[in-house]
Subunit: 254 residues, 2 copies
């Protein structure tokens, strides 16, 4: 049989609020829809529900923009309170142009608005609420992995995903921002191609490819913030998202 | 039932040589392994077999490097003949550092070595042969799409994929370099999130996500240069890879 993978949306997850037990909600929703989680499966979870469960949301009414945020916002036609939150979440501004701020987050991700986003946050009627990235997305992933082990007795990989734009290519894709139980890279170094020649494209960002595959069933507007992937080959060894983040000395676009 | 997609490797494709009828080889291999191609399926094909079938391979013994190629190669520890082919395939050099040439191809793709690659090419014993990107990957995809229609009576989407590195993130991922029967972007503009707020990350590069999903079953060393994806939501409307290529005026990293 040729290799085959399945990507199954986890449906019916209720509105997530700060303090909610996200792992329990996910495992219950999978069970309720008849999706049995098995050893070697991968669970991909959208960042937004993780941030909401962890209380990483900010009511813009509580934000006092700094003079810098006010200036950037007025130059670029942005909300100064949103800009203030972006600056607080940033370690470094990578580019700023035409209303777009590409920032490096404290985790090392380079993305629009340092991952600060207003869509699918909800919140109190009439308030402008934004979600921040989780403080430690690897820890968020690890918590779900451990809960699956404790409740179901299964060893799975867990990926926290977010939707990032890319230089040079239009359209955003889902990438991994947190991982547990899976090495985010799949390393072909030392292997040979079908003709005995050493493989040159040696390292595949398998966690990013899995996050992208999961997006195909999660959608954006639907309340389907997670997907289960079955049958994918991955290295369950070292975990954490660190290996996916390019260090400054290897960054040609710093 | 929650949305679910399947990604099935197409196995058993024989060694592809210049002039081979790739569409026929792919459809036969799918049939031989019992994978019935149906309306709405997507076929993702690795660039390398497309290039080989189309004769887009170069024996480096036939290449006379220009003085510029010799200079770049000596500065960066590269093969001057390989560098010459990269320059010929390039419209513009984006970055050059530590042996890496990131070039813009004539199609508009920004990638390492303008897509010129030596792995999985094979060729004559003892010769150094490299593969170039197809001249018109959209036409390559269209030919397979039309053949599927003619032979099987099915309407499918076809994506030609290649493995590209990315700024800021370690590890390469598969992206789409050619498309037929599928709009490479999925546009959420005008839609609202689950709370009635307009969606901000409005456009998903669904063809790139599909290419990444396919990579998960194709692998690198295995002779499995294609995969069938079933159940994915996509817009069968306009085709061609153009919408994925960011125009210069929107390129913050030019």
């Amino acid at each position: 049989m040729p290799p085959e993978i399945s990507v199954i949306a986890i449906d019916g997850i209720p509105e997530v609020r700060p303090g909610d037990d996200l792992a329990a909600l996910l495992l219950e929703a999978a069970s309720a829809q008849g999706t049995a989680i098995a050893n070697g499966d991968l669970l991909v979870i959208a960042q937004k529900v993780v941030s909401k469960a962890e209380g990483r949301i900010v009511d813009l009414a509580t934000v006092e923009p700094s003079p810098l945020a006010v200036e950037i916002a007025s130059e670029h036609g942005r909300d100064p309170r949103h800009t203030e939150v972006v600056l607080r979440e940033s370690k470094r501004i990578v580019r700023m142009d035409r209303g777009v701020i590409i920032a490096e987050t404290r985790h090392g991700f380079r993305c629009a608005n340092a991952g600060v986003d207003a869509s699918n946050v909800g919140g109190v009627e009439g308030r402008d609420v934004v979600a921040l990235l989780p403080l430690d997305p690897d820890a968020s992933a690890r918590a779900v992995m451990k809960r699956a082990r404790a409740v179901l007795g299964v060893e799975i990989g867990v990926i926290i995903s977010d939707t990032f734009g890319r230089p040079w290519r239009e359209g955003a894709v889902n990438v991994a921002i947190g991982a547990a139980g899976i090495n985010p890279l799949l390393d072909y170094r030392g292997q040979e191609d079908a003709y005995g020649r050493p493989l040159r494209t040696t390292t595949i960002a398998v966690a990013d490819e899995l996050a992208s595959a999961a997006e195909l069933v999660m959608g954006k507007a639907a309340q389907r913030p997670a997907a289960l992937i079955r049958g994918a080959r991955y290295d369950a060894g070292p975990s954490g998202i660190g290996p996916l983040i390019r260090p400054p000395e290897r960054d040609l676009f710093r």
